[in-house]
Every structure is written in C-alpha cells, then in structure tokens.
C-alpha cells in the first residue's frame, strides 16, 4: 500500500494533543468531588500516560512517564516520586513484555490497561501499608472498576492521534 504509506508521514502531530490531554486529565484528577464520590475517581493520569506510551512510543518513553508521575504527585500532594516510580515501572514492564508482539488492537490495549491499573493500585497499596497510612481496602479498590470502564472512553477520545 504505497499510497497509504505516503499519507502516513502527514499524520497529525501529536504534541499538542499530548499536552491538551494532560491538561484535561489533570483537571479531572483534581476536580472537587464529595468524599464518597472521590473514591470512584479513575486513575486518569496513568491511563493517559499509558495511551501515549502504547500508541506514540517514539514520542513518549520512560522519561515521559517520569514527568507525568511527578506532575501527578505535585497535583495530589503525594510524596514526591511515588506515582513517578509506579509510572516508570509500569512503562518499562509494558515496553518489555509487548516488544515481541506489538499487535495493539483495542481489545489487547484494554487488557494491558487493566493489568497496568491493577499493578498501579497494588503498588500504591503496598507503599501506603509500608508508610503506615490505613484506609479501607474496599475504598482502595474502587478506582479499578471505573478505570477499566474509562479506558474505552479515553481510547475513543484519543485514537485519532495514535500511529
């Protein structure tokens, strides 16, 4: 398909979309909600980061994940570097395990996103247990469900800018 390939080079430049998606994600991340509702807030920054890692690997790598993680930490007032560490580990693991078979259908990406969210929440849970912050396990796992449901929405909004 040479003609299709010719057009490929003129695809939209994702830089602005990456920035806009991060800004919108950060607004959703800190949008004021009641205490009960806030428990259901999906881990939106992780999923936006994962989308760009999967679909724009030339633009976004480990350092992109690091930057997003630091940004998330500052927004959440979390210990600086906690989310960054989790994001970097997830990015590297994703990269490492899909390097042999980069067949990113929507279904595959959904499975990857689910595993990434589980890994992220487990990481936060372990680190909070170590640092002695306690809150109920039920509340801790609430974002998992909403995050899994939110992935198709994020994919639908951003898939125009995938490669």
């Amino acid at each position: 398909m040479p003609i299709a390939k010719l057009n490929f080079e003129k695809r939209k430049d994702p830089l602005w979309m990456i920035i806009i998606s991060i800004v919108i994600g950060s607004v959703l991340l800190i949008y004021p909600m009641s205490y009960e509702a806030a428990g259901w807030r999906p881990v939106i920054m992780l999923m936006i980061m994962l989308f760009w890692i999967l679909y724009q690997p030339v633009w976004c790598g480990v350092w992109f994940a690091f930057g997003m993680g630091i940004f998330t930490d500052l927004l959440l007032d979390a210990p600086l570097g906690l989310n960054a560490l989790s994001f970097v580990l997830i990015t590297f693991a994703t990269r490492y395990f899909i390097r042999e078979r980069r067949i990113l259908t929507f279904g595959n990406s959904w499975v990857i996103a689910t595993l990434a969210v589980i890994a992220h929440i487990t990481f936060l849970w372990i680190s909070q247990t170590i640092s002695g912050t306690h809150f109920t396990i039920a509340r801790h796992w609430q974002p998992l469900g909403t995050s899994i449901l939110a992935w198709p929405v994020i994919y639908y909004c951003l898939h125009k800018w995938r490669i």
Binding site: V58, L75, D77, L85, L89
Partner: protein, 285 residues
C-alpha cells in the same frame, strides 16, 4: 526511547535504571528534607491555581444560575427573613457591645491586655484537596489580601480550621477534622481544658486526654481556649455528642460534633486577630 516502532530490541535499560534511581532520590529528599522540595511545590501550586479555578467553575456557575433564576416572590421572602434575622442579631449585638465594654473595664481592673476584635476577610471556597485522606479546602484569597499562615478560619457557626499554605491568589485551609489537626479547647459549663483532634471524619472530632472521672456530659458546648496562642479564645468549636467511659482505660472516649459546616460551607471568614490569641485562658468567655 525506541528508534523504530517495530524494533524488537528490549527498551533501553539504562534510561530505565536512571529514572528509577531519580525517583528514589526524589522520594528520599521529600521524606528527609521536605523543605528542599517545598519551594518547588509552592511555585507549582500557584501555577496550578488556574486548574483549581477551572475545576470550581461549574460549581460557581451553578450558584450564579441559582441567583439569576430566583423569583421575585422568593427574593421578597428571603429579604423579610433576613431583615428579621438582622434585627435579632442587632439586638444581640447591643447586649454584646455592653458586655464587651464591661469586659474591657474589668480587664482594665485586672491589668490585662485589651481585647480588640480584629479585622476579618470574607473568602469563597473554590476547591478541595485532591487527596481524599486530607481535609483541606482552597479559598480564593491569598497573600495579595495579606493573609498569613496560621490564621484562623471561621464560618457563621464556628471554627473551621486554619491556613496552612498561602499563595498569591489562593490559600489552603486545614479543617478541624483533618487527622493531623488539633486545637486546645475549654468546656463552657465547667471550664475544663482539653485538646480536640480531627478523626478524618467530617462530622466527628475527638477529645483527647480527658480522665474518666471528668465532669462532662453529652450536649456540653466546647469553645476554643486560646492556649497555644494559635487560635483566638472564645469561638465555638462544637458540642459533645458521645461520652463513653471504660473502666479499663485511663481516659474517656469523647466525640465532639463540629459546629462549623465543614462539609458544605461555601463562604468562610478569615480572622485577623492576634490580640485575642493572647487572651488569658482563665478569663470567662
């Protein structure tokens, strides 16, 4: 980064290791030397202010719509109710000013510093902290309006909390119910001093280090005592809602229901009163 999309090379281990080490170094710095990170946090927090403003915009616009769509009859009703309330308040104020004058005279006899009611600043709540474990709200006044860290924040019912960070156009308030918050109080009925700490629950505070033998009952009003020179004395904190005395423990478990609307307040008052904080704890309210 991968140079080629379909490259089967494993991703660069070197940058991964460097990133992980950077994370750990940053975590260590944040843990041992938070003051190194704090200026960066403050600058970025001020930069994020537009995001908070944007996030609170739908809430504000809903209030604006509410204001616009009120009917005339409703406004009249509200006006009448408010005038009645104002009249009551003024009558009370007359009595209060007399009491205040008397108090000043008595204080003059006792040779203690005069109490001057400070200036106050009304502010609007524009957001809450994103971390659900902290009870922190954000208001739309900051160092431009001469706010300072440590000032007391009230609403019309009682003490809400204190300022913990001040940025040029916003400030963060730690509510009484935050787990890390404590203040010294005095019971109205007996004058007993105690410490009240947050529990992480917006509707409940706990009173600590009160011996089981103490004279305390459900319904007792709790006022700030001014000890610690942090909060001014004599403002309502809450009412005692539950007292359980276990024979095994040395201290009673006492729950206090906060008077201020911690969960739902929209306007708050920041108090500029330093002389009140110096008030003598044993002076009657």
């Amino acid at each position: 980064m991968q140079p080629n999309l379909f490259s089967r090379q494993p991703p660069s281990f070197r940058s991964f290791i460097i990133a992980v080490i950077t994370c750990l170094v940053v975590l260590f710095f944040d843990w041992r030397m938070p003051y190194v990170i704090q200026p960066a946090r403050d600058v970025l927090y001020a930069a994020y202010n537009p995001i908070y403003a944007l996030a609170s915009y739908p809430v504000l616009s809903r209030e604006w719509l509410n204001q616009q769509t009120k009917s005339e009859a409703q406004l009249r009703r509200e006006n009448t109710a408010m005038q009645a309330e104002l009249l009551q308040a003024q009558v009370r104020l007359q009595k209060l000013s007399e009491l205040s004058a008397e108090n000043n005279r008595l204080r003059g006899l006792l040779d203690t510093p005069l109490i001057i009611d400070g200036r106050m600043q009304i502010a609007e709540v524009i957001g809450t902290d994103a971390d659900p474990l902290r009870h922190i709200i954000i208001i739309n006044r900051g160092s431009v309006d001469h706010l300072k860290i440590g000032q007391t924040v009230l609403d019309d019912k009682g003490i809400m909390g204190q300022l913990i960070n001040v940025y040029p156009h916003s400030a963060r308030i730690m509510l009484l119910s935050d787990k890390e918050h404590s203040l010294s109080v005095r019971l109205e009925r007996t004058g007993m001093r105690a410490i009240i700490s947050g529990t992480g629950d917006l509707g409940q505070l706990k009173m600590e280090y009160v011996p089981t033998s103490a004279d305390i009952k459900v319904g007792d009003k709790v006022f700030s005592s001014g000890l610690g020179e942090h909060f001014p004395a004599g403002y309502l904190v809450g009412t005692v809602s539950k007292v359980s005395r276990h024979t095994s423990g040395e201290f009673a478990e006492i729950s206090v229901k906060p008077a201020a609307q911690l969960a739902s307040g929209h306007h708050v008052v920041v108090l500029f009163s330093e002389s009140l904080a110096q008030e003598q704890p044993y002076a009657d309210r």
